[in-house]
């Protein structure tokens, strides 16, 4: 069985495309979690982004509006979460779950009239260069702007967290909200912003699925990717660069499974699909064992409500 290098390039490209929604959602949730908020509603925000983007694309015909719309959809629904957990100080876990269940339901209701409509052609960049270099050109050229953005995002996020003042503030809020508050930082405002940003990225991830990846709308189309994105954040020990690698692994497992089937290799499909989840648990255990190590990586106040007397 000769594997030519160009074919490998095609496979890698498919894996990268599959990883895009995971990278976007995970990087968004990473910022949220770094500020100390555990938002389990990723799946709900993604699916709302998916229907918002697709609906706007179909109604207005403008892809630009649709992409913004996908992000706005995510922002809007995450506002509910932010208001509940930050102002009304509700339980993070329950609120996030409610967000997911509600999101899936409301998106299906809104989306009913959009099922079966073919998506618009999304512009791709550098199309003319697509077949120039073997192996490299399918990877580098011929993708949508969202694709390129997704692969740049981990680096931007990393830089933001490590080298910018706001990034430091976010981390301070996440690691020690009480002392941050005592230093005059408005913890609520920082967390609100991080939650909304996470919502925007998750919404964009959903929009990518419905407008570029498939492209069509069907209820529940995120298919559990939101939960995988949540796992990815922990899997990567809250490190954006590792999210990139993790997303490729998670996305890749499905793609590789199909390729192996097409090549006639018998593989247990369900086992391969379960592998990302099992690996995540293993990684979780490993990083949690060393309580010092986990203190270094997990935002200490993750999941705990912050209350301050006015």
């Amino acid at each position: 069985m000769i594997i030519d290098i160009h074919f490998v390039g095609l496979v890698i490209t498919s894996i990268m495309a599959s990883a895009v929604p995971l990278i976007l959602a995970s990087c968004g949730e990473l910022i949220t979690e770094r500020s100390g908020v555990l938002n389990l509603g990723v799946e709900g925000m993604m699916i709302i982004g998916a229907i918002s983007g697709f609906a706007l694309m179909t109604i207005t015909g403008s892809l630009f509006i649709a992409v913004i719309g996908a992000m706005l959809g995510g922002v809007l629904i995450s506002t509910i979460f932010a208001f509940l957990t930050q102002t009304l100080i509700t339980n993070h876990v329950a609120t996030g779950l409610a967000l997911t269940i509600f999101g899936i339901g409301i998106s299906a209701m809104i989306g009913k009239n959009f099922v079966g409509i073919p998506g618009k052609e999304f512009p791709i960049l550098f199309e003319s260069l697509k077949d120039t270099i073997p192996f490299l050109s399918p990877i580098l050229f011929g993708h949508s702007i969202v694709f390129y953005f997704a692969f740049a995002l981990p680096f931007f996020t990393n830089y933001f967290l490590k080298k910018t003042k706001i990034g430091l503030i976010v981390r301070a809020v996440g690691d020690s909200p009480d002392s941050a508050s005592n230093q005059g930082i408005n913890v609520k405002l920082v967390r609100y912003s991080c939650i909304l940003y996470g919502g925007a990225m998750c919404g964009l991830a959903g929009g990518y699925l419905s407008m570029i990846y498939t492209p069509q709308w069907i209820e529940n189309m995120t298919g559990g990717r939101g939960w995988i994105a949540l796992a990815l954040v922990v899997f990567s020990t809250w490190n954006p660069i590792k999210i990139l690698i993790g997303a490729m692994i998670f996305g890749g497992l499905t793609i590789i499974q199909f390729h192996m089937q097409a090549m006639g290799v018998r593989i247990p499909v369900q086992f391969l699909t379960a592998l990302p989840y099992i690996v995540t648990i293993v990684v979780l255990v490993i990083i949690s064992r060393d309580s010092r190590k986990i203190r270094l990586s997990t935002p200490s106040s993750l999941g705990k409500s912050f209350y301050k007397d006015n």
Partner: protein, 358 residues
Amino acid sequence: MEEKLIKFIKRDQPSQAMFFLTPVLAILLTLITGGLIFYILGFKPFEALKFFFIVPIADMYGLSELFLKATPLCLIAIGLSFCFKSNNWNIGAEGQLTFGAIVSGGVALLFYNQEGFYILPIVILAGAIGGMLYASIPAILKTYFNTNEILVSLMLVYVSKLILDYLVVGPWSNPEGFNFPETRQFSESARLPILFEGLRIHAGIFLALAAVVASWFIFDKTYLGFQMKVSGFSLKTAKYAGYKGKKMIILVFLISGACAGLAGVGEITGPIGQLHREVSPDYGFTAIIVAFLGRLHPVGIIFSSLIVAITYLGAETAQIFMQIPKYTGQVFQGMILFFLLASDYLLFFKIKFIGFKK
């Protein structure tokens, strides 16, 4: 100096009255918002609400379906109340349900062509054990490896569903079933007996009721229950007072796993009668809503399971008679939880009208 119109003042202790009123308030707000959503979508609000909440239970069969749906929700939520009260966030009840169904289904298949009164108890026990085994994973990982139970239990949900899928599509699929993804049908001895002719309520409801009574007794009357409630406030408090924290965590997870596993058995030995690729419409997740809505209290959970069960039935009925999309059920479930969580604010804060001062 202008002062705020409304001020929220923290109460000294949570309001007793609000404890019972807020779920009612949440339900009311949900109905109003639901009616609004129907109106916006172009349906007559009152008619839609009628088909959603009244028509499904208007006859005997409907009522029995309500109890049928509420049974697994109630059972799982009772188990979850043990975990949530003691600050253990078991999000993976759906996985424990599935694994309980797998283990008990496997045992039932062993007896597929046999009769005997002893078969059903073995199957039920197998389901409880299956659920407990599966719940022990996040429990052990939390107590001995310091791993966050939310993510572990959640990831395990998907693993269990994939295991079920693999078994039903593959080795356990009915050899005489042309490779269709379903197992053999269980023998009559492995089925939960129907209580009333013509209705689908089965003996599983007794399991749920037993769980309710047991949990009320434990929480209200035993030292163990007291320990669970206190350890929920803070792990430090629990440790300081000398309670065996780790054993407590494992115990509550086992209880919760057993309940979820039993719910799984109830589904497959009750209405389904075999194993399918899917055995539960996300009961494990919805039960979390039921637990919160019922304030983690056994009696409250009975009521909240009935209310949430109606949202399932109502979504179907509304679809049949008014072509309302079936996802309205989930919208209602999400809204109830949102409003409940939001109105919980009133538990801890008082609204005081101050008026304008210049």
